[in-house]
């Protein structure tokens, strides 16, 4: 598969209060971005269990985006975003062992008024993951 043909699938876990709202704002402002992302809403980025991310990669996601409220104090639940940060950092290490490039996992802070940032993050992520090519687990045959 050539780089141009490859359309990555990205799963996004967005926290309800900031990032999901930011993604909505991108919509309201009609900021166009590539249609590669599929969003799953969680109440807090702290809810994102590493299991979710691993399952996404196992199921063939080419990239996973976790987005939450800005550090330090935007979190609706006080500090869920810090927890997300710690988990993602740890998980990135683990991913390597699974044969998945850690660059496929992104963590971003996107506030409710950063619609354009959300669009930008998605666009960049698609670009970067296109460079990485498809999820290696998928390449190995198992989907």
């Amino acid at each position: 598969m050539s780089e141009e043909d490859f359309e990555p699938v990205i799963v996004g876990f967005l926290c309800n209060w900031c990032s999901y709202a930011g993604a909505d704002l991108a919509g309201v402002s009609r900021i166009q971005y590539p249609p590669n992302i599929r969003v799953i809403r969680v109440m807090c980025s702290g809810r994102v269990d590493p299991v979710f991310i691993l399952e996404a990669f196992k199921s063939g996601a080419d990239g996973v985006l976790v987005a939450g409220c800005h550090l330090p104090s935007d979190c609706h639940y006080l500090a869920g975003n810090f927890k997300a940060l710690r988990r993602v950092i740890l998980l990135k290490r683990v991913l390597k062992e699974f044969g998945i490039e850690p660059e496929r996992l992104w963590l971003e802070w996107i506030s409710a008024s950063e619609g354009d940032k959300f669009a930008k993050v998605v666009s960049e992520m698609v670009k970067e993951i296109k460079k990485l090519g498809p999820n290696p687990l998928k390449r190995l045959g198992g989907k």
């Binding site: 166009q32 969003v39 109440m43 807090c44 702290g46 500090a79 506030s111 409710a112």
Partner: protein, 1001 residues
Amino acid sequence: MGDKVGAVLVVGGGVAGIQAALDLADSGFRVYLLDESPSIGGTMAQLDKTFPTNDCAMCILAPKLVAAGRHPNIHLITHAEIEGVEGEPGNFKVKVRRKARYVDPEKCTGCGVCARECPIEAIDEYDEGLSRRSAIYVKYVQAVPRTYIIDRGKCIGCGTCKEVCRAGAIKYDDKDEVVELPVGAIILAPGFEEFNPVVKSEYGYKRYPNVVTSIEFERILSASGPYGGVVLRPSDGRIPRKIAFIQCVGSRDAQIGNEYCSAACCMYAIKEAIIAKEHVPTKLDCTIFYMDIRAYGKDFEKYYKRAMEEYGIRFVRARVASIDEDPVTRNLIVKYVDNEKPCEEEFDMIILSVGMRPPKNAEKLARAVGIELNKYGFCLTNPLSSIETTKPGVFVCGAFAGPKDIPESVAQASGAAAKAMSIIASERGKLVAVKEYPPEKDVSKEEPRIGVFICHCGINIGGYVNVPEVTEYAKTLPNVVYAEHNLYTCSEDTQKRIKEKIIEHNLNRVVVASCTPRTHEPLFRETVREAGLNEYLFEMANIRDQCSWVHMHEPKAATEKAKDLVRSAVAKARMLRPLKKPTVSVIPVALVIGGGVSGMTAAVELAKQGFEVHLVEREKDLGGNLKRIYYLLEGEDPQKYMRNLIDEVNKYPSIHVYLGAEVVEVSGFVGNFKSKILHGGGIKEIEHGVIIVATGATEYKPKEYLYGVDPRVITQRELEEKIYRGLFDAKTVAMIQCVGARNEENPNCSRICCSEAIKNALKIKEISPETEVYIFYKDVRSYGFKEEYYHEALKKGIVFINYDDARKPTVMREGERLKLIFWEPVLQHEIEIYPDLVVLSAAVVPNPDNKKVAEMLKVPLTKDGFFLEAHMKLRPVDFQTDGVFLCGLAHGPKPIDESVSQACAAAARAATILSKEVLELEGIIATVNEDLCGGCRICESVCPFGAIEMVEKDGGLVAKVIEALCKGCGTCGSACPTKAISPQHFTTEQILSQVRAILAG
């Protein structure tokens, strides 16, 4: 006396108005929330970030907007004004003119197609003129109500909007409508208007494009603003390298008649400078030209310090004489005088920190309501209770009562709500909407039968996503037994249809694919509930905001994505379980800790509303700090006020006062606390629903300036006592400010000392005009209208001498005389004086008991030991722990009127709980599978709300969720190693099934 009406009119839909409305509505009153503008939100909705936490303003405001918009007891009346008020407290008749909007709010879905097609452009007021909007518009994207409005002045009547509106919401023949609202009380919260600096022509505003106002700069900073959050110079779109803020533009300016201080500008300028530095990718120099930095609020001084030290923002104490533009570079040359030296400095951009003016229609409003205004045109209030206007039954909050920042406005708002409640306490619950639902069907044993409803949203979705195709696709998904598509799934008739289809097809799960659940989930949940299903058996797929609108040029890909999203929603729907909203009963009794002015006020306000109160005071008598305050700047007699307040406390049999008592143990949670009071040698156990912390604060006992060594060195409070007792006789008095404050040890400002010093100095001049008074200060923080007294003091010849930490005055004894040496900054010379009295403005320090109380209540303290509220901006009297509130000096230093407002606010917030027999809690909370729980306590440690307790079971420990405290964030679920704890509605299985479904395409 006429019958009372259990409704309140709140005028002004800014953050203050919204807060007042929510408090009233939550405690059983009908609220009419009126705003002149077409949507609520006020000035706060325009802000980028808020100080001192740098929270995104919209992020924290939007939930309140939404809550107000959908509250069954709040009736929004936007684009309206008051024409007249008749009647008396408890029973007013308010004539309200609802201005023609030309859009039917019942029909408008807020989809925005009209605005996109409208050919007429107008200045966007929300963006302060930095961008354009259409003649048909909504104020901002998150606006509530998100109902469009036609700007009749701009509209040319081409008819396009009506044609493109598939919802049929446009009505060109709309007319103004005058309605009469019966209400028991009125709360005025019309906010303020920014000073228009065109008047200050020397600053070149509007002549030089790179001179902007602070509110314009707020929009420039905002990601949703004109420049997308990149700070740009309006003249050429370049990112500035060097910007300056000029303070007090339109404030503290006798020339233009605005003598008062606008109270918030120093802080917002610091905030804007910090945010600008954060937003600018390159190096940005920020300079703030100021007269005094008035960072007097809680944790403000720290913020100010951080701005200087961490961010390197330069502060220059100088009044700027003029600004000139370099016509070539359009840079701005600021002329100012620093240390008597005329200086010139070039900047890329200048931000004028504009002050607050009374709202545009203040006079009209005052006439219509029948209240008086002060000389500046703000609302005239009682100096000791600044939420009361000159008309009984009419209260005020927010900036209309005088310039102030958001937390104070919010506190005042809740306070005003309490005042309103007490007038019509007897009518509580009489005018609120009560809804009857059919019994809930038990679907637990059924196979999922999912109905999918897919919205065209006019052309918003249907124009880009092949909706019929997605519908057909949905029909092929497992467990989907029915699917259809609608022009507008949110329309009233579709709600009816969904209900019919649920019954017709015996659906037990419903999926709607349309817009965002953030705005529309409650509506559909309600519909599902009305059809006899548990409201949590509903799931949404966001195929508009996150699909059709963002992939407008890729209809094929958008359609595929919509299918994926629907598939994911259906997958989750399959796993949905009905949830019960847990309830807790409420004991309608309050415990107030502290018998000072705050505690007493809170107790009285609650008693007025018919609640029982236990008021616990450690000392032998009531009154707290107020006992030692004899004068007020504004001239009122505080002692009389205190006596009246104590009388009132004693008047209510429902207030149980425990003097010389102490709360020693508290257990339970909101609605059901149990406490022990040590009183008269015995322990009394009480049960109550809420706690109000009003433990006050104390005066710092100085170690500096020979205090306690020489009797001629006293504190302000001691001076006040001396004057009151007629013992004052001194020819020269030196006052030293910030003793024990704004230093390493206690970095915060004590807020009241400047005013106290001015008060006492003026008093001295009154009784002994020939006495010389020197005040040594860092910044004179006589914020708001107190600035007037500063002016008066200056006029009376009181000498204000600035000092900084590097050159503090020194006090020493020279023989019998006291000698004070100080650096005179103007003369650049050291000077000595020999005062008869040295008066130290000692800091307000936290009550040493705070720590004990905080531990007992499991509530946090700030670093310096004051209580830390739930949110510095929007929840100033709440604790993060539900059911516990705070007010007065326990929260931080503040003058009496602010304490009174806060006390009322705490009472109002408490009333939102006490007024309910049972509290209904959110259903999305965590539950524990005890069989799996290993008792490792990880969940307990990660829970930010202390909602998990460990209980014994079969000899081991297992986690237990305290339902009343859980907020459903799910952090515990992802941390739990055995997956024993699971947040409902976002369970691991549910999310994993979504993940798998999304990737199964």
